[in-house]
């Protein structure tokens, strides 16, 4: 369009054009055209985020002490409120137990890179970027990166498999607010990748994770084990209005079927200990307790509600839930999250392509 306007202007102002000028204009027009055609689509992966080294520069009460990132991150989620001081301290310690930082951002970036590679392989000119809600790169940084990469439009991809207002809606709201702030400096948001809790690639990747964790097991041991899928607990008022629990139960049932495991259960993890209301249940501890009562020796736990092994998986399952299982004399085997399993990435690529249509 820019090239055509340019051409029109010269025609009006220049009167008769020499063939040399005309050729130059046509070449310039084509070049502009080519550059328009090569503008890419942007895919913004929206996620929770985790603390990485460096100040978040948004917490007024930041202690500015070495290693304070985890505290600022947790306070940023729960709110800088004296009433939650004990909980902030408790969760911050989980991060410090694991070195003070979270691998979430790096692992999600790997998923973004793998998705871009897969779409490029399919002949799609796309650029992916991550935008997080609770740590940098924030959604606004991700949109800015897509703009700087020359993207003409943005598709949002929520990196959470199950929908509730505290994930799905909040992520979209966060991205939309970021786009509002950036104005013309953000490629317009034109679509959202539709939810994929039952998509084959995700189910297959979930099952692959369980298979990897149980390599070397006899079929008898695998069949006899209790298979538990977990997701983050959500508060009852949010669960009431969302399909979160239903979607998660469907994911778990499909993954168990894919594995040929006759029995499975769902459980919820990481509910705040200071909350006085009902959150999604049963908890992972209750599910392990039930397995114990059933005489199980093994429990296999796969965090299907999470996509990467970050702190809530590494601490709440590998440390807390494992300690609980140990006390009961049960062996807890934790299967990794789906990460950048090719089946999962291919499924995301399919969904992105649908959204781009």
């Amino acid at each position: 369009m820019k090239a055509l306007n340019h051409l029109a202007l010269i025609r009006v102002d220049g009167g008769h054009l020499s063939s040399d000028i005309l050729v130059r204009i046509i070449v310039a027009s084509c070049m502009t055209f080519v550059s328009v055609r090569t503008m890419t689509d942007g895919i913004l992966l929206l996620g929770f985020g985790g603390p990485t080294p460096g100040c978040c520069e948004r917490r007024a009460t930041c202690p500015k002490t070495p290693g304070c990132e985890a505290e600022c991150f947790v306070a940023g989620i729960l709110g800088d409120n004296p009433a939650r001081a004990a909980r902030i301290k408790e969760v911050t310690e989980h991060y410090h137990h694991l070195g003070g930082f979270s691998p979430y951002n790096e692992l999600t970036q790997r998923q973004a890179d793998a998705l871009q590679q897969e779409l490029t392989r399919r002949g799609r000119a796309v650029t992916t970027a991550c935008g997080f809600r609770h740590w940098s790169p924030w959604s606004i940084d991700g949109l800015r990166a897509l703009h700087n990469a020359g993207c003409s439009r943005t598709i949002l991809l929520i990196m959470a498999p199950h929908q509730s207002s505290v994930s799905w809606d909040w992520y979209l709201k966060h991205a939309a607010e970021a786009a509002e702030k950036l104005g013309a400096a953000a490629p317009p948001i034109v679509g959202v990748v539709q939810p994929w809790w039952l998509e084959r690639g995700y189910i297959k990747a979930t099952a692959n994770a369980v298979r990897d964790a149980t390599i070397g097991w006899s079929p008898e041991r695998f069949t006899a084990a209790s298979l538990i899928f977990t997701a983050h607990a959500i508060p009852q008022p949010v669960e009431t209005t969302s399909p979160y629990r239903k979607q998660f139960a469907e994911t778990a049932a499909a993954a168990a079927k894919e594995l040929g495991h006759d029995e499975h259960s769902i459980a919820f993890q990481s509910q705040p200990g200071d909350s006085k209301i009902r959150w999604s249940s049963p908890t992972i501890e209750q599910a392990i307790e039930i397995a114990h009562q059933q005489g199980k020796r093994d429990v296999i736990v796969q965090a299907a509600g999470f996509l990467v092994d970050h702190t809530e998986v590494l601490y709440d399952l590998d440390y807390e839930a494992k300690a609980f299982a140990d006390k009961l004399g049960i062996t807890l085997t934790r299967a990794r999250c789906v990460h950048d399993d090719p089946a999962f990435i291919a499924m995301l690529a399919d969904r992105v392509e649908q959204a781009l249509k």
């Binding site: 948004r58 917490r59 007024a60 940023g76 989620i77 729960l78 709110g79 800088d80 409120n81 004296p82 009433a83 939650r84 001081a85 004990a86 909980r87 929908q163 509730s164 207002s165 505290v166 994930s167 799905w168 809606d169 909040w170 979209l172 709201k173 939309a176 607010e177 509002e180 948001i189 959202v192 508060p235 009852q236 008022p237 949010v238 009431t240 209005t241 969302s242 399909p243 979160y244 705040p272 200071d274 909350s275 006085k276 209301i277």
Partner: protein, 272 residues
């Protein structure tokens, strides 16, 4: 078993209230990190308003249940204030509607707002506590559960409101209410000190307080649910909300109000 003195009991209860997740909900604590706008508060106000309009009803019902004239006097003092004694004759609901208009609501729209189930269950729970439970359970709910909690919660809300650009005259409900509740808390504390002398009495007061605060925690989650969904949809009307379909379980303000009934039940004679 040694009975804790009323003073010590109230001190411990103050601590418990101050550290409750209902008081320190992330919706309130994140006002600076996640600044709210007028439109966010429009949704907030529509869900909070029914509570404002019903608080006096809790006290009126509890008054009927009060065991002595002395207790009635304490409650009546609070009630007179709630009716508008120190607010130029405007009761709290009328004050709140000034704020709602500043948020962008027309008076005629308010009745048709769909209420999150956490809002309606909050009110239902308090009506129950003030009528079906022993008097001290109800007093625990409206006293420590409300009057001790509100100044802290409103302090956070006020921070968010000022940041969103509301003028002081638009948010007078919150400033005035915060000041009045400091007085109400002191008056009710006098009553509590008088009644919190046995283990049973203390348990009843604490139970009412904690049930109220748990309802409050659910309420903030419900309001956050509404804000996230509503604001997302306002910006992206073409995207599906995770809460779509939930309106089937939600009553409008008017439906909820017209559904509240009180009845008198007379016990059947069972004497042999």
């Amino acid at each position: 078993m040694t009975v804790v003195s009323a003073t010590d009991f109230l001190r411990d209860l103050h601590h418990e209230v101050a550290n409750h997740a209902g008081i320190g909900h992330s919706l309130l604590g994140r006002m600076e990190l996640d600044p709210k706008r007028r439109d966010d508060f429009k949704i907030f106000s529509s869900q909070h308003y029914p509570l404002v309009g019903t608080f006096t009803r809790y006290l009126e019902l509890l008054l009927l249940n009060a065991p002595s004239s002395e207790a009635k006097v304490w409650l009546a003092k609070v009630l007179v204030d709630e009716y508008g004694e120190r607010s130029e004759g405007q009761d709290h609901a009328a004050h709140y509607r000034i704020f709602m208009r500043a948020c962008g609501w027309q008076d005629t729209e308010i009745d048709h707002v769909r209420l999150h189930p956490a809002v309606t269950t909050f009110i239902a729970e308090h009506l129950r506590l003030c009528t079906e439970e022993p008097f001290l359970v109800g007093l625990g709910a409206v006293g420590p559960g409300h009057e001790w909690a509100i100044p802290t919660m409103f302090e956070n809300i006020l921070r968010g409101l000022r940041q969103a650009g509301f003028a002081e005259n638009e948010i007078e409900y919150f400033t005035l209410h915060t000041l009045q509740d400091v007085d109400h808390a002191a008056w009710l504390e006098e009553a509590l000190a008088k009644y919190a002398n046995t283990t049973e009495q203390q348990e009843q007061i604490r139970r009412g307080c904690l049930l109220s605060l748990a309802a409050r925690e659910r309420l903030w989650w419900g309001i956050a649910d509404k804000i996230n969904a509503g604001r997302m949809q306002a910006r992206m009307p073409w995207a599906n909300s995770a809460t779509s379909g939930s309106e089937q379980i939600e009553l409008t303000n008017k439906e909820f109000r017209s559904g509240i009934h009180f009845s008198v039940q007379i016990p059947a004679v069972t004497r042999a």
